[in-house]
Assembly symmetry: C2
Homo-oligomer: 195 residues x 2
DNA sequence: TTGACTAAACCGACTAGTCAGTCTAAACTT
DNA sequence: AAGTTTAGACTGACTAGTCGGTTTAGTCAA
């Protein structure tokens, strides 16, 4: 068994190419050329391009989550300040994570319609992401009495802002647009500070 | 000249098919079959599929704007109440407009990368949409002193929420998710009411 | 006559997916 | 230790079909 299996090389290339060009615009031939493996290896490692897509999106989200988790916003005592620090951390990682768009959003547009199993996986992963955000917002909502939304609403709102912000950034070809949108939401949270 | 030109029939079919299946998953052959015109007519009326895409997205946005404008939220005296009524109106039109996603967002994901001219058009149309929203939020911001964001930030924030909300709705295959996101933003605005 | 249009053949490039067969390394037998 | 078997990683030519776009020959109404 080689040190790096064909499957690992394929996944590695696929993550990069899917992120760069999207699922529909990336052919299996491109992937195997980039990975330096044969067509046969591909279909030995994956049942279909669709199954590779599902594995890729799982890896992608795991990576995003790990990057977003590696901030120093955990220590703060104040739940609101922790939320603000988390958003600020997301802003600072935007270039690295989303300058070529978000694979979750792109896959939703590319595949949700005609590939039910991928759509189902995307729903699951978005729900997972949402749960993590609920855990972030929950203490804040409990701490602040005048907040208009509950934790679940805030989590979903933030998720949709992130996705919308990335999309607008793509349309403008300017990651600053993405960061501005996220920053505005942070300002909204900051306005909840007691004064 | 026939009463309905081939070009009109093509645009009509393209709008429906692009909205349903996306740009990349809709072939020229499908479009001409649906429109009941020949391939020759297609390339007589449009220089390329890409040019059809650009015309289609212009028509789409014009349609969305006209639907969103046809509300009765214009009369109100209070700028904030006008904003709230506008958002409520958008919510009520969500099924009709966005149950199959938003063509602006889908085109951004499908084409922004590899079709610079389409991307440029999308940027222009998003900017146009943003300007209209600025005009909506401007009086509200002037009226309320404690708002954390200026009109441009609010407009962009709302735009990104709409796009993100539609995307999440697609992933969940549930337009209610889309409406919930928009509704949450409305609640945020409602919390700005003086009390 | 002109311009919108039809019908269908055609093009080369590209698509996802298949298949018979090769190679290697470990397991088993003698 | 030497020879045999076997699993599965891997190969790359191949299939059948689709893609956007072109071309040709001809229709039809104003």
């Amino acid at each position: 068994m080689p040190r790096v299996t064909a499957k690992e090389k394929i996944l590695d290339s696929a993550l990069r190419l899917f992120q760069q060009d999207g699922y529909l615009s990336t052919s299996v031939d491109e992937i195997i050329a980039d990975a330096g493996v044969s067509k046969g290896s591909f279909y030995h490692a994956f049942k279909s391009k669709e199954m590779l897509g599902i594995e890729a999106i799982e890896h992608y989200l795991a990576h995003v989550i790990s990057v977003l988790r590696d901030g120093d916003y955990h220590q703060g005592d104040d739940p609101l300040e922790r939320v603000i620090a988390y958003i600020r951390h997301s802003e600072s990682k935007a270039d690295e994570l989303w300058c070529d768009g978000c694979m979750m959003g792109n896959f939703t547009t590319d595949l949700a319609r005609h590939h039910p199993s991928v759509r189902s996986k995307l729903k699951q992963l978005f729900t997972e992401m949402e749960s993590q955000l609920v855990a972030l917002f929950e203490p804040m909502v409990a701490d602040i009495d005048c907040c208009a939304l509950n934790a679940k609403q805030l989590a979903r709102q933030y998720l949709s802002i992130i996705q919308g912000a990335i999309l607008l950034g793509q349309a403008h070809k300017d990651i600053a647009v993405t960061k501005d949108c996220i920053s505005s939401f942070r300002q909204l949270m900051e306005s909840l500070r007691p004064h």
